[in-house]
Symmetry: C2
Subunit: 348 residues, 2 copies
DNA sequence: ACGCCCGACTAAAGCGCTTTAGCCGGATCA
DNA sequence: TGATCCGGCTAAAGCGCTTTAGTCGGGCGT
């Protein structure tokens, strides 16, 4: 059995002050690079800090100083479903990397639904646990931005529709990206294109559907979208539905990497070869789609980099610096791999 | 542009005390369920709390009370590689779920290597940022348990070798699990079994290798282990190496789900059918291996549940309750899917 | 030679909560 | 009846840091 006891108390600013022969105030000033301390004294103080191994007590700092040096991320998803798609982990890595460069911690919370998420925001704001938060998975008419603004909790949205709102957003233009993808398929001669989409209430899903259909209309494509809840099961079912469709598509676009993988499995079971019989493209790129056989054509986003950008934005925000209402992230690029090819001759 | 200003100040304990007509001390006692407050007064105080919407200021609480109500998780992996395997996200979900049930926050940090990780522990211990930490990816002769014990930072290891050390560990017996898997393959008639392993320095990889080889010796199997760094590329290369081996294995065991998926792709490219020509099993189960075609036989662990158990353990620990040196987690169970079958007749 | 200013530093208050001494009055006991 | 006890509550001292008022002494201007 093991139980724990903290060792002897840590040095405080008072200890350093004593060691350096100055007042605690002088130490605080020296540590925070404020004027009024001679170079000589400052050096002496820093030496004492190093010698005693002093570290700021974050709680004390937050109490006095008003900053918790912590940013929160609340994810409203069924907890057990988290973790299949690399997107989330990649984003968190990037976010975290940017934050920790500035010694700001990332606090993570997974909740069941948006209402629980709102509770958390209210609680965090009141408890002063975090200086700001990052919000994912924007929905149509999402109540969160407004609620956050009301609670006075600085926040940064990831995604959204690219229009200014009460809370700044980091926005990657997947509308434009979807157009690129549609043009790629059109160039290969595809006319009937299937689309395994996401939850219609999700803003980015809706935007993708709109982009695909608009572009389809422009280029003379027939688009069939089947919405799903992003689960593999529904993606598989959607794929079967598309195959059974009157005008069986010669290409299918999947909104996520996981969905695409599930779809490819269905195609394999149906005895269809990719891209010989049918082309497949994923809207999300990740290590997973490279695992498929053949590797999938996809729209590539550097999600890690997106996370860093989000981190940068939230840091600026909590420091009271002005932040654009919409921060543009690099748009996804088309990465052509082996899963898309010319439309099969047979059709015509 | 948006910039932020916090709204009017939050109520403090003093406000509640005034509202309820008692002293701040009485409020604190009532809030912390300490004796010496009459039921009537307590009710009045709680009413005031509700009315004013008071919330504890965590910083103040940590300053006085000595507890940060935060648990840390530091992961030493190249940040960009994080997120491919569901294991991590699942574990975090479970851990987080257990912690947040007790209003304890999870702080996440990704660092480049173990030495940076140690720095973080020292810093956190000094800053009192976290009450305890969770440690993953144990290596042989890992310096972390000892260092944590020295720093006086309560910690819980995930994995390890099942022997008591300076820090309590939550341990799932993958040794036993690997034996089950080997027996499954032996029962199907396989004799030459390939094994795509992990990093030899990793404790759990080493334990799996040992288990597999021991059982192989007992059952008369020939085991060929190829170590990898857990990456897909090396897993693919290892698979090719096994196929080129003098005694080509009739079954391959992969140490991770991602590796197995990469391997299956290689097999498909080589024109081998699974399980007709070769059987495949993954040591990690996850949504991914169910995506493969055919879905893979795997050792199933409820990683979410494991995370919850880790959370429970770390909570007990930071509360000063005694914790067993080794907490047993449910052992992985064999889930037979379509990817393992009888050894092909051709051989004989 | 006197008052001023300014740089360098200190004293002390305060952030919001917990906790350790008490204090006070009524019930209990001898 | 007086000493004791005890439940119910308050005063006040921290926790470690930041910040706002100074203080102090020497160089400067006149």
């Amino acid at each position: 059995m093991t139980s724990v006891e903290r060792p002897g108390r840590r040095p405080t600013i008072a200890d350093i002050a004593a060691q350096a022969g100055v007042s605690p105030t002088a130490v605080s000033f020296a540590l925070n690079d404020r004027p009024g301390i001679s170079e000589q004294t400052r050096t002496r103080i820093l030496a004492a800090v190093a010698e005693l191994g002093w570290r700021p007590n974050v709680a004390a700092r937050a109490l006095g100083g008003r900053r918790a040096d912590t940013v929160g991320l609340v994810v409203a998803r069924p907890a057990r479903t988290l973790g299949v798609e690399p997107f989330f982990a990649q984003l968190v890595s990037g976010l975290q990397a940017r934050l920790s460069a500035d010694r700001v911690a990332l606090q993570l919370l997974v909740v069941e639904d948006v209402s629980a998420e709102l509770d958390v925001y209210r609680r965090w704001a009141a408890e002063r646990r975090t200086d700001g938060v990052v919000v994912l998975d924007l929905k149509q008419d999402d109540p969160r931005p407004e609620e956050l603004a009301r609670a006075g909790l600085p926040a940064v949205l990831v995604g959204g529709d690219g229009t200014p709102g009460p809370v700044p957003a980091v926005f990657a233009d997947d509308h434009a990206a979807m157009i690129v993808l549609a043009e790629h398929l059109a160039a290969l001669g595809h006319v009937h294109v299937g689309h395994v989409g996401g939850i219609p209430a999700s803003i980015h899903s809706a935007r993708r559907v709109a982009a695909l259909h608009d572009t389809g209309a422009r280029l003379g494509l027939t688009i069939t979208t089947v919405p799903t809840d992003f689960s593999q099961d529904e993606a598989a079912a959607a794929t079967r539905a598309l195959l059974a469709h009157d005008e069986r598509p010669t290409a299918i676009v999947y909104d996520s990497d996981v969905a695409a993988l599930a779809g490819v499995t269905v195609l394999a079971e149906a005895g269809l070869s990719v891209p010989g019989d049918i082309s497949v493209a994923s809207f999300d790129d990740s290590a997973l789609v490279r695992l498929a056989h053949p590797p999938l054509t996809a729209m590539t986003t550097d999600t890690f980099e997106l996370g860093e950008l989000v981190g940068q934005t939230v840091l600026s925000l909590v420091r009271g610096q002005a932040v654009p209402d919409v921060v543009g992230a690099p748009p996804p690029r088309l990465t052509v791999r082996g899963s898309t090819g010319r439309v099969p001759e047979v059709v015509a």
